[in-house]
Point group: C2
Chain length 395, copies 2
């Protein structure tokens, strides 16, 4: 009785559910400390103490009718949007105002809003493998067509020649995610400039507008002092989707924003359409208390040294055991080459050692597995002897 579009998705979802339940089952048998669950990207660093203080201050100081009420605009509180805009301007030299900011139910909500606003059926949306598998569902929600650029497994930077070749008159949007899930790669300024130039030329050639959607939940998770370029500065038709899920460790609270710059084509209509989409998709507005919380915590950051330590330990440990992977520059994922072509077989072998991995096929990149290292440090350390046993199977 469920819709046809949902039938396959429910089947896939059951597989993920089964994996999750398998993790619980293993934890019950062997103890949670003996299960090495690298499958979930759920931050394990607590929110900064300032979040708690902000909530209590808001409860003490604000009128509850306003604090918990609908916002006047579906885009969110004007003061919050202005503060977000000014914070971006201070950091990146942009010139946004409240009008350019739509508060969203996380980045996932924001991506749905902008795709709803933009896509006509059959419009093409370009993604670079490996990519966050949910993009497929988000684009499918609005009857768009995903166009995959195959992975450059040497660097996991975008293949620009293939990108150029696959842009067509039906290309409405391009999604990038840097720092990247699942590889941890950050696109360099040089790469961004080349991508911008390709899109500008194609826009001229076809007389179209191609929107670059920058999905940035991992912006603040960059290591070794690396700079993550702010994309609106390189390409006019850029829309940014941000989330506080990782930067303030608030993933369950569903709070983020879209930036739609004045420079973007048809920006006034696009901003209106984003507000309408926020309403009619049922978000109505981003959760109000959390809007005010992020305003109070714009200068706060999650302590990423914890993730950094995990990154070093896991990367070095696996390299020493002979596994192939590139060192992530951001996010909290490691993308490891499977010792056998069928990485699902490798995942099954790992499970014998109570190690849970996600197959790269979920990210459009078979032959690899994703490890989320947002776990206790002990989990990393204790998993390495198990990985040693696992590696021995492939020698």
């Amino acid at each position: 009785m469920i819709s046809k579009k949902m039938e396959n998705m429910v089947a896939n979802s059951s597989a993920i559910r089964a994996m999750f339940e398998e993790g619980n089952r293993l934890a019950k048998i062997y103890g949670a400390e003996n299960v090495f669950d690298f499958s979930l990207g759920n931050p394990n660093v607590p929110a900064p103490e300032a979040v708690k203080k902000a909530i209590i201050d808001l409860l003490d100081e604000e009128d509850p009718v306003v604090l918990h009420g609908y916002t006047n605009s579906n885009a969110g509180y004007e003061d919050v949007r202005q503060a977000v805009a000014e914070s971006l301007n201070g950091r990146f030299g942009t010139s946004f105002s409240a009008n350019n900011i739509t508060m969203t139910v996380g980045a996932a909500g924001g991506l749905n809003v902008i795709l709803k606003a933009l896509l006509n059926p059959e419009d093409e949306v370009v993604v670079f493998a490996p990519y966050f598998g949910e993009y497929r569902s988000y684009v499918n929600n609005y009857d768009g067509v995903i166009v995959e650029i195959s992975p450059d497994t040497a660097t996991f930077q975008p293949k620009l020649d293939e990108f150029e070749a696959k842009i067509t008159p039906k290309t409405k949007a391009v999604i990038v995610n840097t720092p990247n899930n699942p590889t941890g790669v950050v696109y360099s300024e040089d790469t961004i400039k080349k991508m911008a130039s390709i899109m500008e030329n194609k826009q001229k050639e076809y007389g179209t507008d191609i929107y670059l959607i920058s999905d940035e939940p991992y912006r603040e998770l960059a290591y070794d002092g690396i700079e993550v370029p702010y994309l609106t500065k390189y390409y006019a038709n850029t829309v940014v989707g941000y989330s506080y899920s990782k930067s303030l460790s608030l993933p369950g609270e569903r709070i983020g924003y879209l930036v739609i710059p004045d420079e973007a084509a048809d920006s006034e209509n696009l901003i209106s359409a984003a507000n309408v989409a926020t309403r009619i998709l049922g978000f109505v507005n981003a959760p109000t208390l959390q809007q005010k919380v992020v305003k109070a915590c714009l200068n706060e950051k999650t302590d990423i040294s914890f993730y950094d330590k995990n990154r070093e330990t896991l990367y070095n440990g696996l390299k020493e055991l002979g596994f192939e992977c590139i060192k992530p520059e951001g996010a909290f994922y490691l993308f490891v080459k499977s010792p056998v072509a069928d990485e699902k077989q490798f995942c099954a072998a790992a499970k014998k050692y109570n190690i849970l991995l996600v197959p790269g096929s979920s990210f459009g990149c078979p032959g690899y597995v994703r490890m989320a290292y947002c776990v206790a440090y002990e989990t990393i350390v204790n998993s390495l002897p198990k990985f040693k046993e696992l590696a021995a199977e492939y020698k």
Copy 2:
């Protein structure tokens, strides 16, 4: 550049926006106390004090990584869902478990989730005029077709003969909203039984399943001790969409739930599909802190005596002035007959007295206007002399 589906919606949205800005403009000129804005259904009774206490207790007692983290299931925290189920069972004699509850981003989020789960393109969804205009957008999101039942303006109860005649083999769902926005009417048990019988017969006749979707944001706002029947008890294929927007005055926090009973056709798949839809529409999960808040406040209620006083004063005041309307039994709306057929003309006339009303056309029922009486009592009292002047124009 925005999608074709959005173009009209953006135009309509600009009209609502213009009305809102007109209210602000009038308030600046005449003072907010001299503007009688009955246009918005934003609760003006504060959340119970217990909400604040619950938030502070949660911040003190719960691990922030869990409190603000993704929930294991997209349906929400297991303990919250179980508590909601048990609360319903205690009140209504149902037998739900956590498995039947999906926590949602308000009722608007819940309706989108269930419609995404159910609708194939061209599927028909029946609504009874006057109805909440957003249903049109929600159904349109999934390429469904709205089928309107014309209003019975004598009682604003559903026209059951027309309902029976308009059910077809393509009827996938029926949306009811009782207590009703915009009329305040509550459907009687007798009406519900007749509707259930009609749908059961049509299911047999066509060999289809017809889901009754009960949109219940106003369930707890019923006056004079009137009972609002719990619909799952009358018809097996019922899905309930609930929101704490009004019952706890938390509309901006976006917290509610869906009930999908085991008795509903294909319930196991439908529950899975609702979870997947929660994820892929970008909700991911209902805001986590608020999930825990509503668990702690299941026995709390907003003080509706305030709305009740407004209801009596406004209803009696307008009747004395010769306006025609039925007395609302629930919600916080009064649906008043326009003295002229074109109610938009009446709205324009009212605006001269700084009275803001919403045309019934927005609810599929021209010739009437909606007044939201969730306003300060003084606004009601001070508006009545203005209504007297307005009424005099039509004598």
